[in-house]
Symmetry: C2
Subunit: 325 residues, 2 copies
């Protein structure tokens, strides 16, 4: 993994992925007590940054391999990113999704032309299911994070952050990244190491799913005991990736652990101040900036708002429970 792979991915993504805006608001700065910048990846195609990694990986396959189709396992955002990337390449996609994934994500993945196969998160191993299907049908497995081309694709978000921060005169900041398996976190950290070396990436996780934070402390890959049941479904994995963890360990600052309810509060703030729809996992970095600023340093904080695939019911709950100031 190196910066050249991220730059090559950025070239393949040119004209395909959106250069999402970097938003700010004086009202939000006031809540946080510092300047807050939000990289609005919820505005990315399919509603999350995952389209970057999906396109990067699918476009990197040799044409004759790609034509047989691709397969992915995902709670929903990677699913949609891979499904759309496959459709735009004109190749079939099979997506293995947990039965308790949000309905909207399952429906969207199907509507994007993918064949969806549901599995039981507690009793089945999605990696085994994915590998078996891949072999049986000659499909290329697009892993959600432990794959160089996927990490490179997510890293393009970091290249944009470096450029957009420079445009507004920011060289030094904590960069908060929601963290599941670590694909986005490690890709962005690699990009910023080169392009904005005074920025420090901080993984953000929900309480009870803080495997990355604990792993960074212990220096080895720790696991969560729970496998699901978080409203931050998009960023729940059992442990950091084999490939992503060494990168995070080398490049990232300490993790930040945030109660789920703070994600709902941040959703309400993003609604009223950025006019942006975020899902709980997509709001967790903003939640850290707003409500856990004592763990940050410096004048500026950049938060990746990684996704907005949320059911209306959950969104309404956030607005009603936490009316925005």
């Amino acid at each position: 993994m190196n910066i050249e792979m991220i730059r090559a991915a950025a070239q393949r993504l040119e004209g395909q992925a959106r250069r999402t805006p970097l938003l700010n608001s004086a009202f939000v700065d006031e809540i946080a007590g510092r300047r807050v910048w939000v990289k609005a990846e919820a505005l990315q195609h399919t509603g999350s940054f995952k389209f970057r990694g999906g396109w990067s990986a699918v476009s990197a396959l040799a044409a004759e391999v790609r034509s047989a189709g691709v397969i992915a396992y995902s709670s929903g955002n990677h699913a949609q990113g891979v499904a759309l990337a496959a459709r735009l390449h004109g190749v079939p996609a099979v997506i293995v999704m947990p039965k308790d994934a949000p309905r909207l994500k399952v429906e969207n993945t199907r509507a994007l032309g993918a064949e969806v196969i549901l599995y039981d998160r507690d009793h089945e191993d999605r990696e085994a299911i994915g590998a078996a299907l891949a072999e049986a049908r000659g499909l290329s497995l697009i892993k959600p994070y432990d794959a160089p081309e996927v990490i490179a694709g997510q890293g393009t978000c970091g290249l944009e952050i470096a450029a957009q921060a420079a445009e507004v005169g920011i060289a030094k900041a904590d960069v908060l990244v929601c963290c599941g398996g670590g694909g986005l976190t490690s890709g962005v950290a690699l990009a910023l190491e080169q392009e904005a070396p005074d920025m420090r990436v901080r993984p953000v996780e929900p309480v009870d799913f803080d495997d990355v934070t604990r792993s960074l402390q212990s220096g080895r890959r720790e696991s969560n005991t729970r496998s699901g049941g978080s409203i931050c479904d998009a960023i729940v994995t059992r442990s950091p990736g084999e490939m992503t963890f060494p990168l995070m360990h080398e490049l990232c600052g300490p993790g930040i652990v945030v109660p789920e309810e703070d994600c709902l509060r941040a959703i309400s703030v993003a609604f009223s101040r950025f006019k942006l729809v975020l899902e709980p996992g997509g709001a967790i970095a903003l939640a850290a900036a707003l409500y856990h600023g004592e763990q940050l340093s410096g004048e500026h904080v950049i938060c990746i708002a990684s996704g907005g695939n949320i059911d209306a019911q959950m969104f309404t709950r956030a607005l009603e429970t936490y009316p925005s100031p």
Copy 2:
């Protein structure tokens, strides 16, 4: 009014206004039966395109005139745009707002440092109030639409649309613009006349507030009988502007009149498909594209999603009443 004034405004807005993205979604194309492109002005500073006109007008004042302060009358979005532009210039702002304006807009305007004066929409004349205050305190009146520098500022949105459409290969399209007094509509029409002459601007208005549509038919400025009570509060004016109407009459295609409920449906679609928060008046152009396509022609339609300053209660009502497909 001419294109050079819009280009000059664009230069003054450089680094101040956001270049908002032009979004699309295969799901939305399917509902509309053609390619739909959404210019996401809800992501503009203060949550609507009005910051463009506000900054343009305030920045065009001579420094010694500007220093005495500015005044504006507005149901809320122009208020916030002018208030922020004044604050960023370090000069005082007085905003005259109707008593029934959304609470959020009044609060935001105050929080942006402006002095807010409330009036009764049915029994008082906001223009008279504004003019009297302006004279008494030496303030410069920033009109909401009938002012060249305001029209020029809104027109910068048209310059961006022309450039962004060209980037994705679109030269010909109907461009749907929510229309109150006609500042945005006439500014965008002027910009596109020069920069994308095969595009045709179509004003969009709510049922019962179709003064512009009727004026374009009759060739003279018609008035609405109702003065308020629309959920599209941002785009309700009594009649088209003296300055904006001749421009619209010369440059625009026929108006489109949309039931209010369609705006709520479009809000729900923008929530699930674009991850964008829109207010009813800001969703009306998208509503026209989605549900009144028989009045359009051609493969592409571009909709300005002009603002997102909506109370949580109204937003929740839209999501609950019209679950997005």
